[in-house]
Symmetry: D3
Subunit: 243 residues, 6 copies
């Protein structure tokens, strides 16, 4: 299918694994070409374990983080992973990086996009990445940006699950059944050697979102037997032919 | 299809026409059996034109309103319309009426339900009807309510478009293309002889929601050529296999 | 002026004094006939000082509270004060009381109405009174309610200032300059012998709202020299000929 | 300590276990006398497994549910559990039941109270119970309610964790370390034979709330080593001597 | 009148037409000198039709857009229209442009200001323009900014109607009757040759806002016979002498 | 105590006095070393009285403002006050200033932090300072920022009381009893010679927050006899061992 593509915009290089690894693996299995853009490696702020090693340097952290992310991407079936290396804590996206991101969006022509929650007081990089995603989406739609290129349509932007959802004012309106690819997501999670304390955390999340899937697909009457799920918040309304 | 059913819970007998007539006609055309419950006729509060006639009585108003609603229902292809005649301004749903509503829900086993917005400072009957719908849905799911009956699953409750949407804190998350059945909705609207001042109003709404459909289905790149649409707000998250 | 009338719906008999005494006195001075409905005396829940006296009875509390309210009403220039005596903590408005309230609204035909905030976790009577006010306003607009009577137009419902505004999710969108009638409001406040601990509290409120009036009428450039003000939150949008 | 008491108001007889069993066990271990009021048994709506048995009756369901709740209460160290048996799906609290609840509150004089979230579209009994709790708290504070009794102070009302927190618009502002009593909570959970599908769900919740406890107590620098926690949303502001 | 001035801050050169053309024409007709600042021409993002022509260049688009905007401004009776030409998709306002905008504000000394909604996920330029407007208003009030100049007072900032209002979290609190100048607004709209698909859309909007005007000015009792209206959301509270 | 430190991030040099002077004095009295960072002097936007003097210059305003702030700090017992002199109206924090702020945070290792409300349409510097505080807190927690330094834990960020609280969407969840240090706060307030119009305003605020303290600590039953208090809104959830 011509629009069987998806794009993930990840503030740091591990975010795409915890937050939408299931969606990536599931759509890859369906034949989607999924592109992941890591705006930074999370090298300063999300690599505590590495920094506790003697003689660690910024370059070594980046190399380690990149390796982990590439392994996870492979486990999930990502078609293309790009590292923008823009720095983290804080992340900053200047005009050139924005243009590069718009180029990726136009090249991918994603059927849907994935990024962070709108609010995150713990991690301002996350909410900033979402603002960047919205702005890049807008620019990619502009007929006067690089005239002659194919402009972007109106892909949904799904906000994937943040840590401590309630504090982030994030509310999922769609649950995706990832039971069939859970083993791939767990494998990708286990590529994140530096954040082992989160492995079981996100396993619990996936199991409990499975419960939410069952509950919302069938109530007390049963519901579909999903074992694992992921939740997403849609930014834009859907357009449908049937309710 | 076994669950090709839908249920509309309408506070007053005309609400289902303005607010979801297109959804009704479209799903009826697809083979859904759509049931409409009118909790009241809107005989006191939404029949100003009738009350300006000499010698009008409550019974005559109800009869007129019922006739209009039945004609509109026929125009839309409604499978079953039920009038609970519970009174309006204010509407009150006592235990017996609640049980009757639950019976209808269980009998219909709707694939989805439709009712009013959660807030309406102009018309407390409307927001009350939504509370009633949520409570009835909950009771219909209880295994201990009339044990032995088939319990309700987890149908979506869509909140249809209120008048003055922004004042009602209503935000549509789904737009439905009703272009193919617009003529039926307009015909049903014209059955509402007592509220002629609203005919063009809701035609404008449908046209502009068509614009929203186009915009959200394709952005500046085009989008699907819907001429008319309706918007709905989902109460519950969806469960899906693909984003 | 034909519509120089206003109606206050007060859950307990002292609420109208603290919360909109300035608005009452100011409009009375402008020639408005202001009607106050006290749904209860606040005899159980807002009369702690009286109950600490030996041998106090419910009737004596009501008599004391009524006297205080009548004195305050006189100080403010209230045209008519009515005591519905429906009980407090909790307040309950049954069908007959609702009809009586609608009768008052239709008789007064208020240019604007005043009642409590939409949310009050400390005092559920308050938020209940606002629901009652909205429902009564709706019924009073119904052509089929007591057909032949003059129906209500679309008066604004202003929510007056609650105690601990932020906890009540109350946000004023209009400040009224009550400088010219502040002495009357203070006199009315001093009629509330049983709640002396609140006299200075509401004096502080009036002074600080005066600051807000000055700030919003002129910024750092000056602003109008109001010394005292009251704030109100509008439920409905305004209709104007000039911004 | 004179105020070492707490009161849980639970819509159905199992809610207190899943949602605040840890808080109960922890405070009981600290010497608090914890009272639990179960407004209903959840006999109609939360006992699906029982109703699937042949020949089940309402009385048998209530008996089973009561037994489970009493066992769980014992496991947690509850001082007193009271069953109001008001019916569920829907729950209704009439004037007599309200007075009874106020009597309990006055008798217990709780240092803090616990109840449900403010919004729950899946289960209207839950949000109704919270309204009941707020109203009962208000009445218990009234000097004119049963004059001569000791009136209630201003205990915090904590809203315990609902199912599908984001859909309930529930946001925890306090996390309680329940590591030391987790085994008791798990034991109480296992008393709920009829809802075994939720055992692991709430174990996952407790583990992940433990992560939130650690994160909020120390960030990436470490934090306290809680293994399990519970989250609560406060209705009222706190009053403190030190930040 | 000394303060018969108004200022519109428009992200792109057509925004002021669709969103507040009626307010401009009405106030111009009342003798207001209305200044419009177009921060950009919308040359890249809002000129799709032009870009579909062969050999189009950025300069030609700007020229076309400027011509359309000037014609529309003339049709509305705008006193002064200024093009800042800051670029769009994305719009960026640097320190010099900010100073220039503050100079305009101080020069105009507007009785009120108009700009975009606070949130717009489709078009980040829009919400950015509102942030710019708030910041510029603040700077214009500072006595230490260009000391000696007349500082700004506290003009209201009205947020005009965005496209897809509900998605923008925009809620109008004032409706302005533009019936008398509707022909001028329609004429201005028709100057926008490049966006003809929006002509009928905004005509529908004006008609339906006319309905809202009537409803809010008189309810079912009638209301003022406005045929067309515009809605606005106020950022700041009003200060009044009468409710 | 090792963590008896606190940090105030104040957009302009007087903010810390009005908004949290009591908290500073109280904690200083308890032995906390309180550091105040003034990002600017408020020299352009909050020094109207000075600018009205003949021959005033930016440097003289800064000198005056610095003197006032130092005197107030001394009155409150501030351990360290730092002036970043970044300019105001608008305030801008570049990469170097951000690094300097992070250095302060790491050096202080505050037990809690204090800054402005999240929203302030009157004063964009205020809400910007809060964004800066959140970002600086995040960077200070990063192990890769200046590796080898002690990283920051997870201190609470309290948002202190803004002017016109309701317009700022600020809701206090904690009240601090400042009765014992009120005289120090008043003395500090009186150091602000240039803003004498606010002295009584903030005295009223402190008295009324005292009322809120009493109400929330004991309801109608009494409550603690605080005469003055300050309110704060917590950004992050608390972690506790007892409710």
């Amino acid at each position: 299918m011509s629009d069987a593509t998806a794009l993930v915009i990840s503030a740091h290089s591990a975010d795409f694994v915890w937050r939408c690894g299931g969606a990536i693996a599931l759509h890859a299995a369906k034949g989607y070409a999924v592109t992941v853009v890591c705006l930074s490696y999370g090298e300063r702020g999300e690599s505590a374990k590495l920094w506790k090693q003697d003689g660690m340097t910024l370059d070594r952290v980046k190399t380690e983080r990149r390796g982990e992310a590439e392994n996870a991407a492979a486990a999930l079936g990502v078609a293309d992973i790009q590292f923008f290396d823009l720095g983290d804590y804080p992340l900053r996206v200047g005009p050139e990086a924005m243009d590069r991101l718009v180029d990726v969006i136009r090249s991918v022509q994603p059927h849907f996009m994935l990024s962070h929650s709108k609010w995150d007081p713990y991690n301002t990089d996350h909410m900033y990445a979402t603002q960047v995603a919205l702005e890049a989406r807008m620019i990619a739609q502009a007929w006067g940006h690089n005239p002659g290129e194919k402009v972007l349509g109106a892909p949904q932007l799904y906000l994937f699950e943040p840590h401590q959802t309630e504090q982030m004012e994030w509310k999922p309106d769609v649950f995706l059944d990832i039971s069939s690819v859970w083993d791939k997501k767990r494998a990708a999670i286990e590529c994140m050697a530096g954040q082992e304390h989160l492995w079981d955390y996100y396993t619990n999340v996936a199991e409990n979102r499975g419960n939410h899937f069952r509950r919302n697909s069938g109530g007390q009457a049963g519901g579909r037997k999903a074992t694992h799920a992921e939740g997403f918040q849609s930014v834009f309304p859907r357009t449908v032919d049937e309710l």
